[in-house]
Assembly symmetry: C2
Homo-oligomer: 179 residues x 2
């Protein structure tokens, strides 16, 4: 989950603030759909510190005692300053280059379908990193540099303004194809 570089409403590249419930929903979705790790990406020290405090509360603090099931989910959450750092981390630990799969609410020429991406994921051997933007979406350079861009989540009406929480849930459900 990328907080920088993303667009604001005016199309300017900004850094968004972290939303507490986003972290919970990513953690719980990651646990449900077998995602190895969820990375909260924000370059600001104060924001990284905030996320670390939230994680610590649920992993080792009062939250861990109150809700051990949530503790389990939070064990999959990490904080990093940049997408580059996450890419390096994953590639290093897997000893294989990670394939990045960006997401966007609008269509792109290089869009890949959910079925096709599902096949690639289960074919191996590469580690895959699903990249989601907060605010008004990922900056253009992130989309351009990604290996794939997933087709937008389309509903029934012509309204493509889901929250990043809803988008993550739907995308992981579609990609794992377990229905």
């Amino acid at each position: 989950m990328v907080h920088y570089p993303v667009y604001n409403k005016q199309g300017k590249v900004i850094c968004t603030a972290v939303t507490n419930l986003d972290i919970h929903d990513i953690a719980r979705c990651a646990m449900t759909f077998g995602v190895r790790a969820g990375y909260i990406i924000n370059p600001l020290d104060s924001q990284k510190e905030l996320v670390r405090k939230i994680i610590a509360h649920w992993r080792e603090g009062a939250g861990a005692l109150y809700n051990p099931i949530r503790k389990q989910a939070f064990e999959r959450i990490e904080v990093r300053a940049s997408l580059q750092e996450v890419i390096q981390d994953i590639s290093r630990s897997h000893r294989l280059p990670v394939k990045t799969v960006a997401t966007d609410a609008t269509q792109h020429k290089k869009n890949i379908s959910y079925n096709h991406m599902h096949e690639l994921l289960y074919e191996g051997p590469w580690p895959y990193l699903l990249v989601l933007g907060t605010g008004w979406g990922l900056a253009r350079e992130v989309l351009e540099e990604s290996d794939y861009i997933l087709a937008p989540v389309e509903g029934v009406l012509d309204y493509n303004h889901l929250s990043v929480r809803s988008a993550i849930a739907i995308i992981l459900d579609r990609l794992t194809g377990n229905r």
Copy 2:
């Protein structure tokens, strides 16, 4: 979205507090997937008042000016004191009895699959009401009195603790089957 009657962690029936972002996510999901209306159900006057304030902010207040796209989504959101009230409202406005579709994280004998429910929804003529519980899920009597209970959302791992926000997004995506 039901805040009463639902279970707490100890299995006692309680009334949960409204979560601001739940309302946003329901509104945006309803707009995306063509749901006619989203009902926030809470019997407490103070909670109903809070929800009405949030709705008014995005429909007519500063929020409507700041984000007209969000305003559009909030036009589908209503507040009611009880599930019975919602059932009566829908049945009256459609002049047809509403069919209730409850959801639960565990399996039930009367579970209906997403494909089967999808067929029923598009076959008509009935209005359908999808019922989701907050907290630790819908009280048993709500499940028993419902016309259908949807199969639980199952992921890849044996972890069934998605947020109600994630569950709504996935369920609507599965039921509309537009992928």
